[in-house]
Symmetry: D2
């Protein structure tokens, strides 16, 4: 397989964008594998994901020169060699269903990223992590030590070059400071179909409200809890015979699937965010 | 087909309830067609729907004597001859998709109730209603005339013996007084997966929040808007290419299906309510 | 709104197709509204749907000149002014749920085509059709008269310029001769999730096999019954309490939705077919 | 928690069955926790699942005496102490997604059975099995040694008292002789929405047919491949951008969920079979 480049662009819509981008790639001898674009007509924004195989002699230049092209078109852009996989850390607490699910998927080759480490505020999943042959770091968090723990986590993440954090039912809220300083995306899974049942105990809330459908939501974490851009959601029907425990069990399957799908899309450079929403080029 | 009786019971759980109910029917020579029960263990409440064909000579007595039995067991009960179909009124404004859908279903024989009339605060659907061969009543509603209009509606509903009101995208909020005085169930359809996006413009809210799933909810109307017991919900996936107009169109199909299903369940005596939730014996 | 043009292209994949198409439109002063493409890597085929607003002075020339461009790129192409809506005929027999559903959608403005007529082998839906203000044509079909009836239908369809036939639970099989001579697409709805339960009585087949999910399929009709390219499918869960009659009722809702969606996609020039499959640019 | 008993009955329908069963339990001082029944009106068969807490002094007698009662009512019956969990063996080949999924669920306490061993015709999953702390048995299968291997497997299963075999993407077909001699249920997962795409390579078949929905099916294995009673099915939409590899990945998630759910229902004595169909008391 030849090495390909993937770019995500967005910016003010104007005539000729598709032509100019595709033309440039063609003229440099590149071969477009996938090109997907979207216009938000209300917002007047243009979005594009384009993946191409550069001409062999231009392997080192296409990425940087494409950035210049995008800038000249007034677009923000992220460009990545597809072979340069993102480095990832998983944060967990005690719930282990998303943890096991993600790692088994990683081992099966399904996740196009480099899993660097598991970080937890508890030691419950230490042995399992080591059993999977992965590094485990324990940062206990209490109200008094939270800032300190987050600093230590940031130092570790930076030292290892982590570019994506996955909150796999991590039961601590990351501070705005952490998110600012990490400066890379953080994907969280919330166990309800947001915006319904944000906050604590969503399954209990759903049970008490008597809904007939429960869900799970994967979203980018922002400073405001459960309000970041939604990447993916899944739901399943429930009925009066289902107990709270049944809701938790059924919901766990949804959490696993939406989180894994959201992470896979992110690692494949398929997601753009704007105005607290996402464009997902599936 | 022999004439059958259907009873809905609920009350404090205690041993022997299933035995005593089924025994009584058997001893009177009745033949149970369906018996479905449920226990809410947290709440300690027992629920049952039982349908049986009484012995021919007891056609006139089983219903009333069963009420006495239920009372002696500490149960609240509703008993109905299946042939005595409920009388129904549909309230509409200008949106007509649920209106046409319900009436076409009624004409096809799918809805086990008697459709008595259509009531509207506008005249837009008058001709269509008359074209379907149904009575149409127009009660304009303004802030000043609301109480007066509701009184006139109540008088009409009572005069015609209406036992169920369906709000088929009716754009007025029925007052608590109306609901109290009508004293029969009112089924509403809300165009979101409640409790998300209660209130006005739910599709606009969903579009702005960037959800990946939209829904519709049929529920019993209570004095608090969009907070009554949920009967049925349905959802469908959406993505970034879908405009607000697409959401409205896709949601309309959900609204039709959840409302029709909820009404059909109610007309078949399949729904019990408690603690702002429903038990639906499907 | 300015008048737009929509083109559907497909042909052997080769480098530069996206660039050359988008460039041509840009150079003629056109403004691309939507451009969606797909490559089937196994088959080596490129597909594109592109919609643009031509420069005002080129309104009469863009469509025909674009065809020449596509030909020069080795592509097959269909080009259409979006305002030139396709003319449509609905074929029905006695089942009326898809019939009413389609026509109510048409009257609500949801279907971007011109509904020319209803054709039936029975007279059951004549009054309803006339009540909707539409033309009704009755062509009884028996084994002996089938060829004759089809010829009369073809003559009528041609005389009226019909470009799409919708089989809305039409209970006759159109002959290969009819399909050849009509030479326009025919969309059928089959009441199962094809390829399961092709042929007669699919709900009965599904009931007897004890499936836990039933479905409906909209597809282009071909000479081989129920084997044409699938456009859309929808399913719903069923369980042991559901009778055959329940399956029919639940399935009817699916049939309505998949058929309406498939027709809307076709009328919006969103579907390409190849190798008995479809590409749907939704 | 008190110890409860669960019974599954079915037989010719006749008046008084619900009354006689519930009465008997009540008269022995038992307390019914759940009672769910079903009548197949076409077939004239009555089905019941009833779970009760016997009076303390009757712990040893209720189960056996209930069997006599059922027999006197003309019913076939299976009775089980809920604490007596079924013994289970998992058969695997090389695909490991259902294997890992089942075992992680078992370890989380979600599966009410005793996992006795993993059996495989390959050694690929030996280390993983041992890593989970489970017994692993390797029985290579070739055309010539199949009968011999099956005999050895049967001997092992009998020796360990296994009462349920799960085929977790086991790539060998069990012979009718094996099924007869094992004489306990075998649950298989097939990677299509049966009856569509039975046999080999269902994802390839689905891809080539161009379906818009793929699925997975859990069913009891019978001598005729992929034709046993269906327990559970799940589906997910696909579109033209999905490659065969995408179908395999998306389908794997369905396989895991339907197989785990089917096994959990079986272990909870919730499934009755008749006429190649299932009644599932969920």
């Amino acid at each position: 397989m030849s090495q390909s480049i993937v770019a995500l662009l967005h910016g003010p819509d104007r005539p000729g964008l598709v032509a100019q981008v595709s033309n440039w790639i063609w003229q440099q001898g590149g071969n477009i594998l996938h090109a997907d674009q979207h216009r938000d007509e209300e917002a007047g924004i243009f979005f594009q994901r384009v993946e191409w195989i550069p001409a062999p002699e231009r392997l080192d230049r296409d990425a940087s020169e494409f950035k210049a092209l995008a800038k000249s078109l007034g677009m923000e852009v992220k460009v990545r060699d597809v072979e340069q996989q993102l480095k990832v850390a998983i944060f967990v607490s005690k719930y282990d269903h998303c943890f096991h699910d993600l790692i088994v998927r990683w081992k099966s080759g399904e996740m196009p990223g480099k899993l660097e480490m598991v970080i937890s505020n508890h030691e419950d999943l230490k042995d399992s992590t080591l059993g999977y042959g992965l590094d485990f770091y324990h940062f206990p968090v209490s109200r008094d030590t939270k800032a300190e723990a987050e600093n230590a986590e940031l130092e570790l993440l930076n030292a290892r070059g982590v570019e994506l954090v996955i909150l796999a039912r991590y039961m601590q809220i990351l501070s705005g400071d952490f998110l600012d300083q990490f400066a890379h995306p953080v994907i969280n899974v919330h166990h309800s179909f947001l915006p319904a049942f944000a906050g604590a105990n969503p399954y209990r809330q759903a049970y008490q409200r008597g809904v007939k459908i429960i869900g799970a939501t994967a979203h980018y974490a922002t400073e405001i809890l459960d309000e970041g851009p939604i990447i993916h959601q899944a739901v399943t029907p429930v009925h009066h015979r289902h107990t709270l425990k049944d809701l938790v069990r059924k919901g766990s399957d949804l959490e696993k699937i939406v989180l894994a799908q959201a992470v896979r899309w992110h690692l494949s450079s398929r997601i753009l965010t704007y105005q607290n929403k996402t464009v997902v080029f599936d």
